[in-house]
């Protein structure tokens, strides 16, 4: 091994470390940009019978209604969550959800149970979840079985 190869072997790790730091800065800047990701319902969604799961990659959200409290349970901690009930005229009513003890659980009181009380009824819902500067959104129907 000649002297130039030896020097190159000594310089290469320094360049690698500089590259690692520069790449970290680049990726960090990208991660801070706001991103909007759409959640897709997994199979049939029935909020009343607690079988409504929305998914995007590793992120999953369970939406269910119990005692007139509509609850969102996610696999990652959320910064905020808003549920919209959308009527037949496409008019949305916003329900900002409040955190229950941990940022994995959010709920609010809604009249959703009354709107889809009978079997066969369905209702359009929208969900906006904010997490680390990005947003997860979903538009889906709850269908009571």
């Amino acid at each position: 091994m000649n002297k130039h190869t030896k020097i190159a072997f000594m310089v290469a790790p320094i360049l690698a470390v500089i590259g690692y730091i520069a790449a970290d800065y680049y990726v960090e800047d990208q991660a801070q940009e706001d991103k909007v990701v759409q959640l897709i319902p997994l199979g049939d969604c029935d909020v009343i019978y607690q079988t409504c799961v929305l998914k995007s990659g590793d992120f999953e959200v369970n939406v269910f209604d119990k005692d007139n409290l509509t609850t969102v349970n996610s696999t990652f901690p959320l910064d905020s969550a808003t549920l919209f009930l959308v009527d037949e005229n496409n008019q949305a009513t916003a329900y900002p959800l409040g955190m229950i003890q941990s940022p994995y659980y959010w709920h609010t009181e809604t009249n959703l149970r009354g709107l889809v009380a009978s079997a066969g009824q369905s209702y359009k819902l929208r969900l906006v979840l904010n997490i680390k500067g990005g947003s997860y959104i979903a538009e889906f129907y709850t269908h009571t079985n």
């Binding site: 091994m1 000649n2 130039h4 190869t5 190159a8 360049l15 590259g19 790449a23 680049y26 990726v27």
Partner: protein
């Protein structure tokens, strides 16, 4: 003195080429062009991911030996010129 300057200029040119290749392979293929390269696969891995994980390191090691080889040739060339 002039020979030393030329030797140094050739050395710098070689270093610049190495750094450009280093940048293209690591930042270009591993970060900036990762999405289009991920359309292709190499040994079951997405190509952009492969460059970020392994490919760039293989190229770095290759560059070290190539630089050593070229510098060796440069040394011999200027030694021969000095002797003549």
């Amino acid at each position: 003195m002039e020979k030393k300057t030329t030797y140094w200029q050739e050395n710098l040119r070689l270093i610049t080429i190495c750094l450009v290749i280093w940048f293209i392979v690591s930042f270009g293929f591993g970060l900036l062009l990762v999405e289009p390269l991920n359309e292709f696969r190499l040994g079951g891995y997405k190509l952009g991911f492969w460059f970020a994980q392994q490919g760039s390191i293989y190229v770095f090691v290759g560059l070290i030996f190539w630089y050593g080889y070229k510098m060796n040739k440069l040394d011999k060339k200027y030694q021969a010129e000095d002797e003549s």
